[in-house]
Amino acid sequence: MKKMALVGVAALSLGLAGCSKQDQPVLNLYNWSEYMPQEVLDQFRAETGIRVIYTTYDSNEAMYARLRLLDSSSHYDLAVPSTYYVNKMRNEGLLAPIDRSQLSNFDNLDPSLINLNIDPDNAYSVPYLWGTTGLAVVADRVDPAEVTRWEDLWREDFVGRVMMTNDMREVFHVGLRVLGYSGNTRNPDEIEAAYRKLAELVPSVRTFNSDAPRMPYLEGETHVGMIWNGEAVMGQEDMPSLTYIYPEEGAIVWLDSFVIPRNARNVEAAHKFIDFMLRPEIAALVSTEIGYATPNVAGKALLEDDVRGDRTSYPTEEDLVNAEFQEDVGDEALQIYLRYWEMLKAGR
């Protein structure tokens, strides 16, 4: 009986502890999966007492749909859209302006990655990380020297072993670049041509994965295909033979930025968090842990040489020849992409 009573008391105190947590300030962060080390969130909480609730998504489309839907209910305080979605959300008035006076560390950012045409003067967004989408090869299975172009994915000996991201824009980017078009085209004929080209690739594709694109390689299911550079860095910890290659037709480049939804409840905490993330030591920690490149110049200077010198995370200028930034293509072109994307996915 005594034991039971003890258990009861323990349960009760746990319940009470649960209640008192509610009184603490909370920051609702909506971010890509596996895109921020837990350590950073813990340190932020230890310093400010603000608890970060981290919710994840695996595509810009899903993030945008959720933010639109929950626009008036103030559910999220921060989100991390990619390049072209910053532009789209800003144009649609979904974002709250950034108060630069609350960001003491803003000047740490690389001048070439701020004030871009997606958001002039960074009125609504603050860069978090940038990265590239390129080719991955499992060196035990496929000779990396023989894979240099996106077009190599179409090789016959790769049938059933190709991995593509589950991201419509990225997959079409590959098809468009192989044909020599821009990955940001709005021309329906070019999109259709890319669809026809990609339809030849689909029978080779083992899986589409944007949740954790390194996993199909680590599982031994796919040997060649697309990957995000940070995923390649993370995957190399378990599988050193996972090789990242910048394709000759050009890698896909993106920049993910913090934005504050216009009805965010805790705007002050959101600014505090952004400023915290802009600290050089935090930026360096993030880049080391998850393998993407930091736009933070002061942070980059703190990186260990083997991280800063890793071409997978930090490409040279030569690596980025032909590389293209993803841009918004507008709703009309998006619907065309979408229609062909569904045809691709349903085709077998």
Binding site: A62, A65, R206, G220, R348
Partner: protein, 286 residues
């Protein structure tokens, strides 16, 4: 009427609860879905007027017909497999000692305590190229190269069968429990062999359980999009995937709602078939 109402306060309170529940959580959401399916897509506000039937017309597009048929096929294979495993399972379960029965049913239900998405990921770890099954077979020398299990149609069907099998077994177990031994014995006494007894006595008496099990397996099998996503590698689409993609990625709610209504209609059709077959069975029995 009112006199009665006061005399049975508990019964009426329960009935009221049931009605409120059904109205608020079944009728209203379904009316919203049907209403949505008749509206037009809006890129910013999701929905807009005018009312249209265009979303249903789009469902007739060969692309979606193909997805629907493939989904139907995978659900049918899943259902048949569940039935083939579940029927003898339930039969044997009803035959064992009562003390053991409780334990066995308990074991059947235990997996429900773990979220089905987590269990789907567990299956993924079993099926992967360097997963438990492949590395086990390789170390035993049965195979040299890993089998292609994960990200195939087979993987989706394995996942669906695993998740849905209990829904087949439980209603079948209920009818086998009710099956009177005397009827089987009488059949034997009257000279029927094992097969005729099975076909003419046991099958008709357990048919309601079969139909209930099929209903509980077939439709969820068309909608469990995460199984197709995780095990099928986003390549073996189910109707559930189309609905999810329309709502989350394409932001085409009216079309997603129309696909959802189609799935509900398929359910209604099956229920009608169920009623029809019961009536027919009832007449035969009389």
């Amino acid at each position: 009427m009112f006199g009665q109402a006061f005399r049975q306060p508990f019964k009426n309170a329960v009935l009221l609860l049931v009605w409120v529940w059904l109205l608020a959580l079944v009728l209203v959401p379904n009316v919203l879905v049907v209403g949505t399916s008749l509206l037009t897509r809006d890129p910013v506000d999701f929905l807009t007027l005018p009312f249209t039937l265009e979303n249903y017309q789009r469902l007739m597009d060969p692309l979606y017909v193909q997805v629907f048929l493939h989904s139907l096929y995978m659900a049918a294979v899943t259902t048949v497999l569940c039935l083939l495993i579940g029927y003898p399972f339930a039969w044997a379960l009803a035959g064992v000692d009562k003390r053991w029965q409780t334990l066995l049913i308990f074991l059947l239900i235990v997996p429900f305590w773990t979220n089905s998405l987590v269990r789907t990921y567990a299956i993924k770890m079993l099926l992967a190229g360097n997963g438990l099954i492949n590395s086990g077979l390789q170390s035993l020398g049965v195979i040299d190269q890993p089998l292609e299990l994960l990200y195939t149609e087979t993987a989706v069907i394995i996942g669906l069968v695993y998740l849905l099998l209990p829904f087949m077994i439980l209603p079948l177990y209920a009818v086998f429990e009710d099956l009177k031994k005397e009827l089987v014995m009488a059949s034997h006494d009257l000279g029927a062999g094992r097969l005729p007894t099975f076909l003419h006595v046991i099958v008709p008496l357990t048919l309601p359980g079969v139909i209930a099990g099929v209903l509980l397996v077939f439709l969820p099998a068309m909608g469990m999009f995460y199984v197709a996503d995780v095990l099928g590698g986003a390549r073996n689409l189910l109707v559930g995937n189309v609905i999810k993609n329309q709502f989350l990625d394409a932001r085409d709610w009216p079309f997603g709602a129309a696909a959802s209504v189609l799935l509900t209609l398929a359910m209604a059709f099956l229920l009608l078939a169920h009623r029809f077959s019961r009536r027919r069975l009832g007449e035969e029995g009389a």
